[in-house]
Amino acid sequence: MKCQSIPRGKQRGAALITALAFVSIFSLIVGGVAIYSVGNNNLAAREADYASAIHLADAGLNYELRNISKNQFNAGGFTVPSADSPDTGSVAGVSGTFSVWVTDTSGGTWNNSKGEMILYAKGTVNGVSRQISAHGVHGDGLFDNYAVYGINGVNFNGSGSSVIGNLGTNGVYSGSNTATTGQISLNGSNASGVSGSNVTVNPDPVYFPTVDQIVNSTFPGPPAGWSWLSTHNNNGNARTFIGNSTTVSPGTTQVSALGTTIKLSKGAIILPPGDYYFTSIDVHGQGQLIVDNGALSTGGTKGLVRIWVNGNGGDIMSNPITYTVSPNDPSLFRMYYNSPGNFQIDGNTASGGAFYGHNATANASFTITGGSFTYASVIADNVTISGNSSVQFPSGTVGSSSDTFWLWFGIKDSWKEVPINGGSTFPDGTSN
């Protein structure tokens, strides 16, 4: 029988083929494991980057909140960051960056007078970006914290003068620390003059808006500000009567042409709710100013009385201001003083409101004197309290929804993550 032979070529190389097959199979297995491990590691690293990115975005949000609250009125030191020109930064020692910008609630340009804002912040780490958004709202207003704030200084003349409430200044405090019953804040490197357990020293000054900024924002026109106010005020609604009585009732004679100056030594000028514009005020002798925020003279609804003064200074209110609103409501009176000089206020007042004077180029000052007792928040370039006079922070809320400037902003609720470069609303369609 003939033995069938196997071709030589099919016998040889079997070991090599087996070895190669072994190597191939195990290479695939081990290679797969390696690829899986690397992929898993990349995934974990990417996950960590995503987490870091959201923390950096959060850092950006807080950064801008502080920046706006601290610097918004710092002339030349603050620009509202926009999507095209965001603020950027990082956290020292942590890789990655953030960028942040704000809009108003409609997606337009934000400014302080709008109060609320939408903040957007994007954190980026190793090429991974995440974006968040939050609804920012105003906190403390101009008149919520201080009975007296002297932007350039506060001066007490006479041992009997006092402030009942908190006081602050960016300049020199001249007087005893016990002249102020609340906290005294010395803000910035120019602030000095007092020490004690009720004195807080802050490294940076507090910036306030000028009256020009406020009037321009309140009356955007066109033409804006004083130009608008000089022709669109409520001076024509003022009423007057001659006599000593301060009882105000509907039907009191309306002033036919009050003009923009008050020089009164007899009788009273009654100002129903509205905006009044004057270049000078001189009330002395038996003259009296009645702030009719209770609207008794018109029989209408109580409301805000705002007096805007833009003249040359040297103004005086020798007799007490009478406020008609009842119960007391200090949110319903404002006096904005832009004149480069002094406004002297004498006489006891109840209820009160807020007196505000800040001129960018000259001192707009208030002097509380004549043994007066004024319930108000008084903020001005310089504030002098003399002649055994006192300023007391009013009971009730001084801040008003009609105020358009705030010193502090905070986050309403919490932030939400939004698509990168997304719209002004969140994915669920809300804006908060």
Binding site: F26, H55, A59, N62, G93, T200, W408, I411
Partner: protein, 153 residues
């Protein structure tokens, strides 16, 4: 006419591998095995690294959230160090045989004084940084940071 081959001669030519073939095959398998061992070792190291990173990410994020939850005024200024074991137990204030070190640093850019006592200024920005270090390799495996501001979150 060719003489018939002996059975021995036929067996020798038909069965088994040549020495050369065996050597080559062994060499291939040997080299491949070395590569595979290295690759396996790499995979093992990578898995360890992933485990460490995942742990560091979790504990780092947790530490950051803890500071955030304290808020702007209450976050403790300075550096706080804690340790975690490789099985996740912790935190511990001492290193001992723990595998991971978590350092939380809070730094404030502005301070005020009230009655001579130093406090955080209202307009300060406080930076929070978390760094997680693998003490086995002495390498930083995760870091993250955020800021705290008055009125912020």
């Amino acid at each position: 006419m060719e003489a018939p081959r002996s059975p021995m001669a036929r067996r020798t030519k038909r069965s088994g591998f040549s020495i050369l073939e065996s050597i080559i095959a062994t060499a291939i398998v040997g080299v491949a095995l070395m590569g595979m061992v290295n690759l396996f070792s790499f995979s093992y190291g990578m898995t360890q690294k992933t485990t460490a990173l995942s742990f560091a990410y979790s504990v780092g994020r947790n530490s950051l959230e803890n500071v955030r939850s304290l808020g702007f005024y209450n976050a403790t200024e300075g550096t706080t160090t804690s340790y975690y074991a490789s099985n996740g137990t912790g935190p511990s204030s001492t290193q001992g045989s723990n595998r991971y070190r978590v350092v939380v640093t809070v730094t404030t850019d502005k301070f005020a004084t009230t009655g001579g006592v130093t406090v955080v200024a209202e307009d300060a920005l406080r930076a929070v940084k978390v760094v997680v270090t693998d003490l086995g390799t002495s390498s930083t495996i995760y870091s993250a940071g955020t800021t705290l501001a008055r009125g912020g979150i």
